[in-house]
């Protein structure tokens, strides 16, 4: 059997019938471990690579399990017929998949070799050589660009953004994958029209990029912080109103030629 199927990695969830992250009906594999610490993160259990305990339905549950590519593919394969009908496939999410580059590459390869479409949600926060190893197996790169200002980026996510922006350009120039830019719209962080416009203008200059997604901030991960005995730092923030999102969409479209959509 192909040896990459035995590659091991750490995940914290697999979610089937995901229909708003990439094309069609998708299965999302959530990889554990992240380089950033975004204050609004809706999957706080994804951040540390180490396993940790979270309360689920009132009972402690260990988040994070070590699996092989083969284990994951067994679940992903179950919905093969749904992918075929809907044009869907497998999406890697996290966390940041690039924290486990060999595992991510092996997962994507296994899917592609079986004729299953692939996508990855990622910030692109890794040396480009690491990313380059993954691109041959990746149909769609859903890349987060959260802010154009390096310092503000650091303040809200823990890291400056130069590497990620440079990677975005290189990925676009490689022409090996469909690159889609995604912006989590977080009030007080990046929800001013000029901030969104700056990202849209940057994305517009990336060769081959046609789409930008504005993802409105939501609080669905908030209670997980309590269940992990952590503090949620953005308690005062409310999700943006739909009308406001429409305004931002118009802003993005006015400064670029990109197709802009709200939500994934």
């Amino acid at each position: 059997m192909e040896e990459w199927l035995h590659t091991k990695g750490r995940i914290f969830d697999i979610q089937r019938y995901s229909i708003h992250d990439g094309n069609g009906i998708r299965t999302i594999v959530f990889l554990k471990g992240c380089v950033l610490r975004c204050l609004w993160c809706c999957n706080p259990e994804s951040q540390k690579f180490e396993t940790e305990t979270m309360m689920v339905d009132g009972k402690p549950k260990v988040m994070g399990r070590d699996v092989t590519v083969e284990d994951v593919m067994e679940v992903v394969e179950k919905d093969r017929n749904y992918y075929r009908k809907s044009g869907g496939g497998m999406t890697l999410s996290g966390g940041e998949s690039l924290c486990q580059p060999e595992f991510a590459a092996a997962l994507l390869r296994a899917a592609k070799e079986r004729g299953i479409g692939t996508a990855m949600e990622s910030m692109g926060c890794a040396p480009y050589e690491t990313i380059a190893q993954i691109l041959p197996w990746l149909d769609t790169y859903l890349m987060d660009i959260k802010h154009m200002d390096p310092e503000k980026h650091r303040k809200f996510t823990g890291k400056r953004n130069e590497l990620m922006l440079a990677n975005a350009r290189k990925i676009a120039e490689s022409g090996m994958t469909e690159l889609v830019i995604r912006v989590p719209v977080v009030p007080t962080f990046n929800d001013r029209p000029e901030e969104i416009a700056a990202i849209a203008q940057f994305a517009d200059k990336l060769p081959g990029v046609k789409k930008i997604h504005l993802l409105p901030y939501h609080r669905l991960g908030q209670d997980k912080y309590e269940r992990l005995s952590r503090e949620y730092m953005l308690k005062e923030i409310l999700p943006p109103e739909p009308e406001y999102m429409q305004m931002l969409k118009k802003t993005a479209e006015s400064v670029s030629r990109l197709e802009c959509q709200i939500g994934g």
């Binding site: 979610q15 089937r16 708003h20 179950k78 919905d79 749904y82 409105p216 669905l220 908030q222 309590e226």
Partner: protein, 842 residues
């Protein structure tokens, strides 16, 4: 060029007003029909039953009060009160008299009844003592079958107390040649009868009955024509006067003769639909392939420029309103099982013709739009899906689903067609199938399917297996041995199979007794005039006049039985973590929960009484109750409670049906065979076979209330699983996993239909991609040989209920703003966020 035009037409004010008028008051019970049928019966005592029925039908149609409601374009009402109902004492009446004073205030489907109506009904009912179908059926039944019914193993209540219904007639024939044409056929057949024929007596009287019935229908329409003309003469509004005159012309023409326009076809259709429901109280009189048989009239008028799409839509909308004007009062228990005043008038669009070509047309879309316009439960709209179904049709259907109305239901041609052929239908008949009632496929105009013959609770024989054939101290099933002494799982499985086979034979006995009673006491000559091959055979449908004859009783609780047997196999025999005697004890005492539950007390008290009797002591009620109380107290000590909880925890860990795990899913498939296969060995008095269905209507709730604790961890009284769906809350891997599991079951063998419910949050269908993915989900489930799928898109009310009762909604996935979650695991404030957003899902 496209084969159809799918452009939407807006709803008119007329439709809004008609709908409002319909729901102003509580529906009312009226006495006219009961009084009239009784008058007629009193005068025909010495005549053959089929003639008595026809004469009674004619007497009713000559005298039933008629009304044209304000603004109606299609006329014909069975009651003066909107959504009112008539009664049918010839089937049963005692339950209604008993419920006279409670029917107005009961929770499920209340009806207003005036004191005067009560008085008239009492007078009429007095005649029927000893003359009803239900009394004759009881007399025909084996005492063992009645015993099993008393113990709630199954209930054939539907046809026991009511007419049969559950049929689709040859609407197209009435539209084409009218009742005069059918009457001519009957007259010709009558002329062919030879005095020396062996069946001369029955056939000639039957044909006379058909002729009387057809004339009665024609006369009824003439009464409406006269009324419309009279109202037109008095009408000051010029526009309405014009409408009334057209109504009069229509009723003068149809259903006596063939329809000359789409409008007349609509009116003719309506009289057929209404009058079938005056002849008998059977529900699920299903219009079937309305988009097909109406299309020739529509396309001819459109092509000739005589009809606009707008007016055609308004007429269809008017029919949809009328379908909700018909009503039926059921007994209190049945009302719970069929909750929602539903008459299950199933109307299906799309699908194939007899050659296997797709037949989607303009009307297919307009029917879906009509349901969107009237937004009422009737008709039970269905859609046929196959590989050649246009994507656009399914998207339009998905848009209706997204509203949360629960319509349409989706059916898979690729499973149903071969399944019907395996039951003897020709290829052409199978390809042109439609659905009756909830999910039951058949060929229109040729079938008496007896589709809703009974509800069989598969969990009860399992309880009885654990008690060696006993229930509440009575030996009602065979002695299959003490489960505590069974050394292998196979012995348990075989014991269950033996109990099932015994009770299935009793179910057949009960159904056939009822069947016979209908043949003798309620032959329906008007219905027979529109179903092949009654006229040629000289018999009504009830007497075996149809080409295809079936009896289709429903099994339910498959998921519970499968999960239960699988848990017993794993925990007791494979892993040896618990003994059979501990398991049995836990079930008896409801896992230590709510031990005062009447079901728990009844079992214990029954055992005590049984033991006293065997000791030769008379079981005094007080003594039994006290002893039972003591036994229960001993069984729920803290130490015992710990054991029960441990068992529940162990059960929780055992894989459950519905999660895309092959071993347990295959186990469920085999468990379903325990019900579906033995049934195929039985025949009914009409010369047809039994065929199983796997769907529960809403009876899984009340029948669950009669079922003690089951080995899957389900507590006494909790609803059992719904149709072929996984147990509520036990499928936790999402809709694709549940659909994969359900498709492992053999849907083909359950040729009377299967029902798979899925629940969604509206946002799962939001936007174009939401609809596309939803359609892909249906298509994939169908590729995997699922038969039926319907969707509850959750409402705000459901989410509020889920906050209060999280245990009932463990499986509820909500998806808002790019993230999915199990609703019940979210914090209160986030749940509130989602509830606020629910209504903006699309």
């Amino acid at each position: 060029m496209k084969k159809y035009n799918s452009v939407r037409v807006p709803k008119t004010d007329r439709i809004t007003k008609l709908v409002e008028h319909l729901y102003v008051k509580l529906p009312e019970i009226e006495s006219a029909r009961a009084v009239l049928i009784t008058e007629s019966y009193r005068q025909t005592e010495d005549e053959p039953m089929v003639l008595r029925r026809a004469k009674a039908f004619a007497h009713i149609l000559e005298n039933l009060p008629i009304i044209i409601r304000e603004g109606e374009l299609i006329v014909g009402s069975s009651t003066i009160a909107p959504r009112g109902c008539q009664t049918f004492p010839e089937f049963s009446y005692e339950w209604l008299e008993k419920e006279f004073d409670t029917v107005e205030h009961r929770e499920a489907d209340p009806f207003y009844i005036s004191e005067e109506t009560k008085k008239k009904l009492r007078e009429a009912d007095a005649y029927w003592k000893g003359k009803t179908t239900s009394e004759l059926a009881t007399a025909y039944m084996a005492p063992e079958a009645r015993k099993a019914m008393e113990h709630n193993v199954f209930t054939p209540g539907n046809y026991f107390y009511n007419g049969v219904g559950h049929v689709t007639v040859q609407y197209e024939k009435v539209l084409a040649i009218g009742y005069e044409g059918i009457l001519n056929e009957a007259e010709k057949e009558l002329a062919r009868c030879d005095f020396g024929d062996a069946d001369y007596a029955t056939k000639s009287r039957f044909l006379e009955a058909v002729i009387i019935s057809c004339r009665a229908a024609i006369g009824y329409a003439q009464r409406y024509a006269v009324l419309a003309r009279r109202q037109a003469a008095e009408c000051r509004d010029e526009k309405r006067r014009g409408e009334l005159l057209v109504i009069a012309e229509n009723c003068e023409r149809v259903p006596a003769k063939g329809a000359q326009s789409f409008y007349q076809a609509c009116q003719s259709f309506w009289f057929v639909q209404q009058l079938l429901q005056i002849e008998s109280s059977g529900h699920s009189i299903s219009p079937g392939r309305f988009d097909q048989y109406m299309y020739p009239y529509y396309s001819r008028d459109i092509a000739a420029g005589k009809l606009t799409r707008e007016f055609a839509q308004e007429l269809i909308d008017c029919i949809w309103v009328k379908l909700n004007d018909l009503n039926k009062c059921r007994d209190a228990d049945s009302a719970k099982g069929f909750a929602g005043y539903s008459l299950f008038q199933n109307l299906i669009v799309g699908g194939q013709d007899e050659h296997g070509r797709d037949v989607t047309n303009d009307l297919s879309f307009m029917c879906i739009d009509a349901s969107m316009h009237v937004f009422l439960p009737q008709p039970s709209l269905s859609i046929r899906v196959w590989n050649g179904s246009p994507h656009e049709l399914l998207i339009r259907a998905a848009e209706l689903t997204r509203t949360g109305i629960g319509l349409p239901a989706y059916y898979n041609d690729e499973v149903i067609i071969p399944s019907l052929m395996s039951r003897g239908l020709t290829l052409e008949d199978a390809r042109t199938y439609n659905i009756i009632g909830c999910v039951e496929p058949q060929k229109a105009g040729k079938t008496n399917g007896w589709h809703d013959a009974a509800f069989f609770n598969m969990c009860r024989p399992l309880e009885i297996t654990f008690n060696n054939g006993m229930d509440c101290g009575e030996q009602i099933g065979p002695k299959t041995g003490c489960v505590e002494q069974m050394q292998t799982f196979e012995e348990v499985y075989e014991a269950y199979r033996t109990q099932m086979e015994y009770f299935i034979s009793l179910l057949v006995n009960a159904d056939n007794a009822i069947d016979q009673a209908h043949a003798e006491r309620a032959p329906l000559p008007f219905l027979a005039s529109m179903v092949d091959d009654c006229i040629r055979r000289g018999k009504t449908c009830e007497q075996g006049g149809c080409v295809y004859n079936f009896t289709g009783p429903q099994g339910f609780g498959i998921a519970n039985v499968a999960d239960s047997l699988y848990a017993v196999k794993k925990l007791v025999y494979d892993e040896k973590k618990v003994s059979m005697s501990e398991y049995k004890n836990a079930l008896l005492f409801n896992y230590g929960k709510d031990v005062k539950h009447p079901l728990v007390v009844a079992q214990i008290a029954g055992k005590v009484a049984g033991e006293l009797v065997s000791q030769g002591v008379r079981p005094e009620a007080a003594m039994v109750a006290e002893a039972a109380e003591q036994i229960i107290a001993k069984a729920v000590t803290p130490e015992q409670q710990k054991k029960y909880q441990k068992l529940l925890d162990l059960i929780e860990e055992v894989p459950k049906f519905g999660n895309d795990e092959e071993e347990v899913d295959l186990f469920a498939r085999d468990a379903a065979y325990i019900y579906t296969k033995p049934l195929l060995n039985y025949r009914n008095p009409r010369g047809g076979i039994f065929q199983a269905g796997l769907y529960p209507v809403s009876a899984n709730v009340p029948l669950g209330a009669q079922t003690g604790a089951t080995p899957d961890g389900r507590l006494a009284g909790v609803p059992v699983a719904d149709g072929v769906s996984p147990t509520a809350g036990k499928d936790v891997n999402g809709p694709t996993a549940a659909a994969n599991s359900v498709s492992v079951l053999d849907h083909g063998i359950a040729s009377n239909g299967t029902l798979f419910n899925q629940k969604f949050h509206p946002s799962a269908l939001s936007g174009v991609s939401g609809l596309d993915n939803f359609v892909s989900l249906i298509r994939t489930y169908f590729d995997q040989k699922g038969s039926h799928m319907q969707f509850n898109v959750v409402s705000k009310e459901t989410l509020l209920d889920a906050q209060k009762h999280p245990d009932k909604y463990k499986h509820l996935v909500v998806r808002v703003a790019g993230y999915s979650a199990l609703f019940t695991t979210l914090s209160k404030s986030l749940q509130d966020d989602i509830i606020r957003r629910t209504e903006q899902g699309f």
